[in-house]
């Protein structure tokens, strides 16, 4: 378990919505770079380094594809590089494409981290309060998936032992596939009715029943949530004062370097690197304690 994952699910949800929202909202290249580095650094802390770098090799072609193809769809900009079918291919359109590519890759990495941190139990816990019935449906469906896969394997083994559809021909395999699927559906429907009867017998839906959950909102969560919200609000104020404004068309604007802009960038840098710093600090502590043993 990573340290950042131990924060209360509501803190994590606010954080991820905040950073993914910021990344998708902005077209400012500096901010996109910060966001990408934050997400990539966090991903490296969460996963095996080799896996993360391998995924990066997958995103690089996507990044270049988007930046190269954007000029084909957009002819704005004042710096033509060359003409294709009498249409200008502009530097601005290409760099705009690069910014979009960077944005998409950053969002992908944030979502990757989200998938590792926000496990389904946290998701159900958060939404269980707002939509209790649907959360139960979702949590049952999540549980049914491995159960059904296990059942499919059972049925398939039995069928093979009985010697039904055991040849290697494709027709046989497809037919046995449908037969197994059909048996699985029958079984799962009966299983469902049994479960429902059991739920009724145990008094599901009666008033006065309480829920168990492992998550407690502690002081530590409160501090983290306040820090995240304070940084988000500061960044939002900066954005509303226009210090983050950046446009590619008709010509690329400059990145502002007023004191206010610098404060806003530092705010965002802090916000986007929180998980990375939390994990690095935890690793440092861990190695320090290990060295003491």
């Amino acid at each position: 378990m990573k340290l950042f994952a131990t924060y209360h699910p509501s803190v994590l949800l606010v954080y991820f919505i905040g950073v993914i929202g910021i990344t998708m909202f902005t077209m400012n290249p500096l901010l996109l770079l910060i966001s990408f580095l934050g997400a990539f650094g966090f991903a490296i802390q969460l996963e095996n380094k080799q896996i993360v770098f391998a995924s990066f090799a997958f995103y690089i072609p996507m990044f270049f594809l988007i930046s190269v193809t954007n000029p084909l769809f957009s002819h704005n900009g004042v710096t033509p590089l060359f003409f294709l079918n009498d249409q200008p291919v502009t530097l601005e359109a290409m760099l705009y494409g690069a910014a979009i590519g960077g944005m998409i890759v950053s969002v992908m990495y944030w979502c990757r981290c989200y998938n590792l941190i926000m496990t389904s139990d946290k998701f159900i816990y958060l939404f269980g309060k707002v939509i209790p019935k649907l959360s139960l449906v979702i949590s049952m469906a999540i549980r049914f998936v491995p159960l059904f896969i296990k059942q499919i394997k059972h049925i398939s083994t039995v069928q093979k032992t009985m010697g039904i559809y055991a040849t290697k021909s494709i027709v046989d395999r497809v037919l046995s596939g449908f037969r197994i699927f059909s048996a699985m559906i029958t079984w799962s429907l009966e299983n469902a009715v049994d479960t429902a009867a059991s739920m009724r017998a145990r008094g599901y839906g009666l008033s006065g029943r309480t829920n168990f959950s492992l998550f407690r909102f502690t002081l530590r969560d409160g501090i983290m949530l306040s820090v995240i919200l304070a940084l988000l609000i500061t960044a939002l104020i900066g954005n509303n004062m226009g210090v983050l404004d950046y446009s590619f068309y008709p010509r690329m604007s400059r990145i502002q370097i007023s004191p206010l802009a610098i404060i806003t960038y530092i705010t965002l840098l802090t916000l986007l690197f929180i998980p990375f710093v939390v994990e690095v600090e935890e690793n440092r502590k861990w190695n320090y304690y290990i060295s003491k043993i």
Binding site: I20, G21, M24, F25, M27, I66, N70, L72, F73, S74, I100, I104, V107, M108, C111, R112, Y114, N115, S120, F123, I131, P132, K133, L134, L136, V137, I138, M140, A141, I142, F144, V145, L147, F148, I149, I152, G177, F178, F181, S182, M184, I185, T186, S188, L189, E190, N191, A192, V193, T195, A196, A197, M199, R200, Y204, G205
Partner: protein, 241 residues
């Protein structure tokens, strides 16, 4: 085709709630889109579209919460969702070939539009817990839910009973799914709607569109009758009604 499983899932009290639900769907969604278009008159449609897609699902969710569904009903939706997710999982090696739409449509035929919407949108949520969530999740939630909802409405009015009607709906659903997901592709890249890029996206996703349509038709034709029979059988065996 059997339609009499539906009554035990629908209670008289819910009528008002349902009318309210339809109103939200038919009035609120266009309103949200209109607000999005007029207020955010810049290039932030990627964010707005996710918001709209997500908000569009909320009336369905809330009307389900409010009418206090029975445990049997909740579990049947969970089972149908899990079946479509397992199907997507089994057929994952063949890109685009997935039974999610077909299972959603079948659920909608037997349990009504609301159950259809829920199965479709929850299939998106649950299968993306396994396949990875992304900004496209709300879009898939809405598109699959919408396809289930429409199928439920059609089935209520006596459509989708014959095989050719199912096949046509399967084709339309496959094309619609592809066209609507292409809208997301364009919005996520451009921030606003670039017609030229949309044409390119549609063109490059034509093979997928074909696979979606073909797989929908196959799954609908093969699965609708057997699953209907099974539902009937379970109902008889356990004396549900």
């Amino acid at each position: 085709m059997v339609h009499n499983i539906e009554p035990y899932l629908e209670h008289k009290k819910d009528r008002e709630g349902k009318v309210f639900g339809y109103l939200i769907i038919l009035v609120a969604i266009p309103l949200i889109i209109a607000i999005g278009v007029s207020l955010f008159n810049d290039r932030k449609y990627n964010l707005i579209s996710i918001l709209i897609a997500f908000l569009s699902c909320i009336p369905f969710f809330l009307s389900f919460e409010k009418r206090n569904p029975k445990p049997t009903e909740m579990i049947l939706i969970a089972v149908m969702t899990a079946i479509s997710v397992v199907g997507r999982f089994i057929f994952a090696p063949i890109p685009g070939f997935k039974p999610v739409t077909a299972i959603t449509v079948i659920t909608a035929i037997y349990f009504g539009p609301q159950a259809g919407f829920l199965t479709g949108s929850l299939s998106a949520v649950v299968s993306n817990i396994l396949f990875g969530q992304g900004p496209w999740t709300p879009f898939q939630m809405f598109v699959w839910g919408f396809l289930g909802f429409i199928a439920g409405l059609l089935a209520k009015n006596g459509w989708l009973e014959k095989k050719w009607q199912l096949a046509i709906y399967g084709i339309i659903a496959g094309v619609a799914f592809s066209l609507m997901m292409d809208i997301w592709t364009v919005l996520s890249m451009d921030g606003n709607f670039n017609l030229l890029r949309y044409q390119a996206a549609v063109l490059s996703s034509l093979p997928f569109m074909a696979v979606y349509a073909v797989s929908n038709v196959i799954f609908l034709l093969v699965l609708t009758k057997p699953i209907g029979k099974k539902l009937e059988r379970v109902k008889k065996k356990y004396g549900l009604n």
